[in-house]
Structures are given as structure tokens and as C-alpha cells.
């Protein structure tokens, strides 16, 4: 089906409005809030701390443990039952993998670093917003990182390649393909890639390229958020 105009009036390669803030949870070692459109994610980092049971420990480095959770009232329909489910566990795991190439925790062998990601409001793209928030929170915590991680969904709505699908687009009656990606902005490498839907190889390549361009814009928002906190501290 033809998709000639986006439901919310954006250009096909245009992201929703973003807002990022670093240092939003005082108790945490590092924290951040990332909002894209109506999707709002908060991430907080705790650790490094001792990891038990012992067999989970990594001898050369700390283990990164991510925990993705949607608040009970944050879904677009009925109340989400509290607690982990198959979906949240899988998302937590792929988020961990998205950070593995950039995060150097070798200073803390056998320990664990916990990243908690909470969604307050959702309008699609939650795992990507979670990654953007977690990336800022880890940087805020001061761990050695080769790069930030930027994430966005790209894909097809009808016959059109778009970036940053919102919920009405994901549910588009003419069909939609949702491809969440995470990218390391300095090298362009992809650290998370999933796909839901049906798409040709050509369109897939186009979508990923569009997603990578979008990630560069997210990177700028992330850098500005970190500067906003740390530039202030330097002045003070």
C-alpha cells in the first residue's frame, strides 16, 4: 500500500522531537532521561558491586546487567502486568549486547554493573529510547567507553522507507516493518539489529542507511545533554 504522507506530518527521514537530560536520579552512580516523541525512558546505573552467585562472575571484567521494564500504566492499551516477561527479558538481553563492544569494564573483574531502564510512557521505539538513555547513564557514571550508543527504529510503512516509527505507523493497516538498530556513531558499526515484518533486501539496505543517518542526529542530542551537565559543573 502507498504511504505518501506520514500520519503525524513528519518528513520520511525526520525523527520525532527529542529531549535528553543527564543526572536525573540522584541516588544512582549515573542516570539519564531520554524522550523521543511521546516515548519516555529513564535509565540509572548502579555499581560496580559484588556479583553473586559466583559462577556468573567474569574473571577479566565486570558483567553488564541490563533490566528493561515498562511501568504498568505506560502501555497504549490495557495495564501491563508488573514484573518481568518474555518480551522484557529478551529486550534486556539485546540491550546488554548493544553495549558490549563499547564498554570497558576490565577495571572491575568479577563485579557487576546494573543498568535499570524504566519506560514511563510509550509510543513505539521503547528499546531504542532505552538504549539512548542507558548510553548517557553509563557515560554519566564515568565508565570507560569507546563511544556512545545511539539507537532508533527504521523500516517500512506501506511502501515507504521511514525512520523512527511511532505506534500509529507500526499499526498502519497497509503493513509496516519495524527495524530497531543501535549504532556506534564514530565507526558506524551496528550493535543491535532486529526486524519484524516483510521487506526486500534493497529496501532493508535503504532503511538501515536511513537509520544510520538518524542515529547521527541522536548522537548530537546525546552529546549536548552530557555537555549541559558537565560544562555547568566546570563553570561552577
Amino acid at each position: 500500500m502507498k504511504y505518501t504522507k506520514r500520519i503525524d506530518g513528519r518528513k520520511f527521514d525526520e525523527l520525532r522531537a527529542m529531549k535528553a537530560e543527564v543526572g536525573v536520579v540522584k541516588n544512582a552512580v549515573g542516570s539519564a532521561r531520554f524522550q523521543i516523541g511521546k516515548t519516555v525512558a529513564i535509565a540509572a546505573v548502579y555499581g560496580p558491586k559484588d556479583l553473586f552467585p559466583k559462577f556468573l562472575q567474569k574473571p577479566q571484567s565486570a558483567r553488564l546487567r541490563c533490566n528493561y521494564n515498562m511501568m504498568a500504566f505506560s502501555g497504549s492499551g490495557e495495564r501491563v502486568r508488573p514484573g518481568a516477561n518474555r518480551r522484557s527479558k529478551e529486550i534486556s538481553m539485546v540491550i546488554e549486547k548493544a553495549f558490549e563492544p563499547v564498554l570497558d569494564l576490565s577495571e572491575f573483574p568479577k563485579a557487576v554493573v546494573d543498568v535499570y531502564i524504566e519506560l514511563i510512557q510509550t509510543d513505539a521505539g521503547t528499546r531504542c529510547a532505552g538504549i539512548c538513555a542507558a548510553s548517557l547513564a553509563l557515560a554519566d557514571a564515568g565508565f570507560d567507553m569507546k563511544d556512545l550508543v545511539c539507537a532508533v527504529s527504521c523500516g517500512l510503512v506501506g511502501d515507504q522507507v521511514v525512520v523512527d516509527l511511532d505506534k500509529p505507523e507500526e499499526d498502519f493497516e497497509g503493513g509496516a516493518v519495524d527495524i530497531p538498530i543501535a549504532m556506534l556513531p564514530r565507526t558506524g558499526e551496528i550493535t543491535l539489529l532486529q526486524l519484524d515484518g516483510e521487506i526486500s533486501k534493497e529496501d532493508l539496505k535503504k532503511a538501515i542507511e536511513a537509520g544510520k543517518e538518524a542515529c547521527k542526529k541522536i548522537y548530537e542530542v546525546q552529546k549536548a545533554a552530557l555537555r549541559a551537565k558537565y560544562a555547568q559543573e566546570v563553570v561552577a
Binding site: 540522584k26 541516588n27 511521546k38 533490566n67 511501568m71 500504566f73 490495557e78 514484573g83 535499570y116 509510543d123
Partner: protein
């Protein structure tokens, strides 16, 4: 910052508090409505100093209890997110989370702030169930009062979704507010080193050995209480707490005007 219990007690003994407040002084309170207005039927954020909590209201249709066929109900759930404090852990709800949920629930339920009969859709078959889910974002002391305030704020913000026969259309909100007729306000008084204080910061809370939460309606009726902590309270202390909590609850209620 973590300071020792001895230090907290020594400061209290000098009739002072570590952050310079008076014994009966709350930290700055901020209430914001609609923090999840796309998803939830009602939502709010409350900050008390460093403590921040969010709450959302979801409405569902369910069967009534067999002994109350013409009444809907509420369910309050507090989850102590490990995101909000290094002291909280993942897993099933801790006893602290359950206590917070139940005390917050009681304040609303027993004050009859919500007319459950107005939640009836078809007697004996379909009633509205109100779920209030509360999450701390930063746990910095006095979650009891923060949870009480944020639950009320989210309820004040809540409207019914559209009802299409027996199906709820969550994408369409009506203008009908959830029937909240009273504002029961929880005020918790904490005993630290034989002095009574309100709104402890986290360190004061951990140095406390007894607390009493009192929920007052605007008419001055007490509708729920909960004593906590390991130490006993004398009748005189309880009387003092009731007076203090009454004054403070009136003060807190002004944030809803």
C-alpha cells in the same frame, strides 16, 4: 551522602536537623500532572526534596466481588524500583513495598474518597477497577507521604476511557473524571532519638526507630493509620503525633488547591 546514625542523633539532640530544617518542616513539594498522559488514564509526579515518585491510573472492566455486586474497586501497587535506590533489589515485591501499597490503598479506600457505587457498570456483572501503580524514581526518604500524595494527584488527573458496549477504547478519553470526592492526606511522623520529626531524609529515616502514618480527610477525620519501626510509642506521643499530623496534612492539602 551517607552519615552515621550517631551523628543524626547528636544533631537531633541539639534540636536541629542535618539539612537545617525545623522538626516539623517538609522539604519543597512539587506536583506535576499528566506525566504519562498518552498511556495512562491519569498520571502525576510528586517531588519532596530529593524524593521523586510517579504514579499512573489505569481503568479496567472486571467482575465485582460477590459480596459487593454493585461496587467497583481500587488496587494500589507500589514497586520499589532498584532504579531508584541502591537499597532496593529486583524480584518479587518486598515487605516494604507491600506495606507502602497497603497503607496508601487504605487511606483512599477507608476515607471513601472514591464512591465505589459510581464505578458500577452493570450490577453483579461489570464494574470499573481502578489500578494505581506507583514507582519511586529517586528514593530519598519519606516514601509514605510521597506515595499518598502522588496517588491522589494521579486520581485527580484521571478520566474514564470511552466505553464501547463492553469494550474499552483506550485511545479515546472521555471528559468524565474519576469520582474523587475527598482528599485524604497521609502525614507520617517519625521518632528519632525521642524527638518527633516529619518528612525525614533517607539518613534520618534509617536512624528512626518508630513512625506513625496518619491519614486525615479535610473534615478532620482520621481514616487510616500505620505504626512502624521497632520501638513503642507512648499514649502521649501518639496524641502529639495526631496533633502534628493534623496540622501538617492541612498544609499538604494546600498543594492541591
Amino acid at each position: 551522602m551517607m552519615v552515621s546514625r550517631d551523628y543524626i542523633e547528636s544533631v537531633i539532640a541539639k534540636q536541629m536537623r542535618i539539612d537545617g530544617r525545623k522538626f516539623d518542616e517538609y522539604r519543597k513539594i512539587e506536583i506535576e500532572y499528566g506525566v504519562s498522559s498518552k498511556s495512562a488514564e491519569g498520571s502525576a509526579r510528586v517531588k519532596i526534596g530529593d524524593t521523586e515518585v510517579v504514579a499512573g491510573v489505569k481503568l479496567e472492566l472486571g467482575s465485582p466481588f460477590s459480596d459487593k455486586p454493585g461496587e467497583g474497586s481500587i488496587m494500589v501497587n507500589v514497586e520499589l524500583l532498584p532504579l531508584s535506590s541502591p537499597l532496593f533489589e529486583s524480584g518479587p515485591p518486598s515487605i516494604d513495598a507491600i506495606e507502602l501499597s497497603r497503607v496508601t490503598d487504605r487511606g483512599i479506600r477507608e476515607s471513601k474518597a472514591i464512591d465505589f457505587k459510581k464505578l458500577c457498570v452493570r450490577e453483579g456483572e461489570k464494574v470499573w477497577l481502578i489500578f494505581i501503580d506507583i514507582y519511586p524514581i529517586n528514593a530519598g526518604g519519606n516514601l509514605f507521604d510521597a506515595c499518598g500524595l502522588v496517588a491522589l494527584a494521579a486520581l485527580r488527573d484521571a478520566v474514564f476511557p470511552k466505553l464501547d458496549g463492553d469494550k474499552i477504547d483506550y485511545h479515546v478519553k472521555t471528559k468524565t473524571k474519576v469520582p474523587l470526592t475527598k482528599l485524604p492526606i497521609s502525614c507520617t511522623v517519625w521518632k528519632v532519638n525521642n524527638e518527633l520529626i516529619v518528612d525525614p531524609c533517607l539518613e534520618e529515616e534509617m536512624a528512626s526507630n518508630a513512625r506513625l502514618s496518619v491519614v486525615y480527610t479535610e473534615a478532620g477525620e482520621i481514616c487510616a493509620m500505620q505504626k512502624g519501626g521497632d520501638s513503642p510509642l507512648t499514649s502521649e506521643e501518639i496524641a502529639q503525633i495526631l496533633d502534628l499530623a493534623e496540622i501538617k496534612s492541612q498544609e499538604l492539602r494546600r498543594h492541591f488547591k
